[in-house]
Subunit: 326 residues, 2 copies
């Protein structure tokens, strides 16, 4: 079992790598090769057979070199995020669309090769006006270039799967929460930071009203989705290989209530409300909740609630401790 | 008013060129330049200022040369048809997707430039399972590579229009009927040939049952759609720049009944029923009828019925004569 992970230096890429190494096998076959690629050189864990490569996937020459090795399973995670794709039109299309096109093109140029292709899509393929709860047959009408690039990738993967050129699936990951690490510039950053910072005793800013509702899954759940997508039989998906995934439907108020239950009022007091009209406007165009019946029937599972999301973070990032409560 | 037409040697391209030359103006401005481009060199009508160029739009070098002249209105019609895109995976993506991407990319690299961009999409962006009458918010789930490439182009145009890089619209043309000229290999060819051939006294083969239902517009209506799309205010379209168009909802039986009303039983007797399971299966996945409320509200109009479609053909292609009835 030879696995290729693009975007392997990223947040999800690193966690997926660790999970695969811990598992040791995929589709019941021992992992004999792990190729990690990212624009910033990934780190291949000690003792794991494989390679860590620095490559820019927006350069059309990069893909054939990776695909010539004919990996059995490809996790395509490399992307620039929503804010950057909006700020830099050409870079967004180069990485998020042409990167995916080049990878798929290289696959279709191999003979007798049909790898499992797991593509990290996003709920950003949907944009307002949207129903409160988004059904599986909701049309994809993105409001951002990032969402457009992901939606185009989804269509490509459905078409190439139908043609038998690859066996693909596009997972519309919920917003990952709690995203570990430093606060970043993403408009969605506050959803994680109002939990992550207070848990370790640091202040956090909340730019939107407590009633703001959104769709979340933990990094651990995201890795679970990706591995399940790589192992399951994809035939039941039929022609439409894009899937909205289970998640936790929560308001900012729900996040704060869960934080209080788990870490106490001292944590909650670290959240400062500083309304930001720009962020509130961006967020208002985003999906709120889903009814991901197809994905659930196919065995995809997320956390049951925000408490479980916070507990997963405490276990995976804080060694089971809650610094603010110490 | 400088106009660029890609695919100008094609069936619709030639008719659009003629209509624009006859009209002399677009958006109430005199046409001062007409650039025609196709892989097979187009013919620029006598006395018209402009250029006729042979270029392959799947070659990324072609687009910048065309866009450097900063045409005010671009009709992007160049494409290979469904059957060819299915038979040749790489050519389909090269022409129908990368050709569109390259043209749009060249546009976004100009400063202070926002041309009207009219893209010929297709009802092939929809595939079974479909409701009998397709509403405007039907998700695009193509069953062919051609439909996939058109749907990806639609998304690109919506995104670039939202960003102000161009002022675009994607028209999902109904199946054009009666397509003039020789019978071709397209799976949809019989919809035209069962009318076109008998009208001139030639035999035609019908490979599907009389109950087969589909969505049609004449070449004349298609040209009308394109010109309307180039002249109207696109603001009311909002974020979603793709539009399903009005057409005639007719069964094969309706086509034959209209032929009989207009050209008599002698014409109808020239149709030979020769069921073809392969064609019947392809056709079964296609849209049957639409409720194109958005397009109608925006002033798009097709023929009222199959009789009008046949009469348009007799006027435009047969000098008003019906040879089989002579
Ligand atoms: N984190 C989320 O909330 C979320 C939600 C939905 C979808 N996703 C998607 O999941 C995937 C992984 O997300 P993440 O949170 O780990 O993001 P991340 O930004 O942490 O990781 C993405 C990685 O892609 C790499 N990359 C960017 N451009 C590249 C290029 N030209 N060539 C090679 N590598 C390049 C980056 O260096 C980075 O390491 C992305 O495709 C993202 O769009 C994430
Ligand atoms: N005719 C229909 O029923 C119908 C229905 C829906 C949509 N459309 C779309 O309308 C447009 C025009 O249709 P048509 O019926 O005139 O088709 P057509 O095949 O007659 O014309 C298409 C033209 O594009 C040109 N072309 C192909 N590859 C090219 C390349 N690489 N570079 C430059 N030019 C290239 C061809 O030479 C041809 O002249 C197409 O985009 C088609 O997909 C047509």
């Amino acid at each position: 079992m030879h696995i290729l992970i693009t975007g392997a230096s990223g947040m999800i890429g690193r966690k997926l790598t660790a999970a695969l190494v811990a598992k040791g096998s995929l589709q019941d076959q021992p992992i004999t090769g792990l190729t990690l690629v990212d624009i910033t050189a990934p780190v291949l864990p000690d003792g794991v057979p494989g390679a860590a490569l620095a490559a820019d996937l927006s350069d059309a020459a990069a893909a054939p070199a990776l695909i010539d090795a004919r990996p059995d399973v490809i996790f395509h995670l490399a992307a620039i995020v929503s804010g950057e794709a909006e700020a830099d039109l050409h870079k967004g299309y180069a990485v998020n669309l042409h990167g995916t096109l080049a990878l798929c093109d290289a696959i279709t140029r191999q003979e007798d090769y049909r790898p499992r292709f797991v593509f990290a899509s996003s709920i950003a393929v949907f944009g307002a006006p949207l129903p409160d709860v988004i059904p599986d047959d909701q049309p994809t009408l993105p409001l951002t270039s990032y969402g457009t690039q992901k939606a185009m990738g989804e269509m490509l993967i459905s078409d190439l799967s139908r043609r038998g050129a690859l066996d693909g699936i596009a997972l519309r990951l919920p917003t990952i929460c709690i995203r570990p690490g430093k606060p970043n510039a993403a408009a969605s950053g506050f959803y994680s930071s109002i939990l992550r910072e207070p848990l370790v005793g640091d202040p956090a800013v909340l730019p939107v009203p407590d009633t703001t509702r959104h769709w979340f899954a933990s990094p651990r759940a995201a890795v679970g989705f990706l591995i399940h997508a790589a192992e399951m039989d994809l035939t039941p998906l039929g022609q439409n290989r894009a899937l909205s995934l289970p998640g936790v439907d929560a308001t900012v108020g729900d996040e704060i209530a869960a934080l209080e239950r788990i870490a106490g009022p001292k944590a909650v007091a670290l959240i400062r409300r500083e309304p930001d009209a720009t962020i509130a406007k961006i967020v208002a165009g985003w999906p709120q909740a889903f009814d991901p019946a197809r994905a659930r029937a196919l065995g995809f599972e997320a956390e049951p609630d925000m408490d479980a999301i916070i507990r997963a973070h405490i276990e995976d990032e804080l060694d089971g401790r809650i610094p603010v409560a110490d």
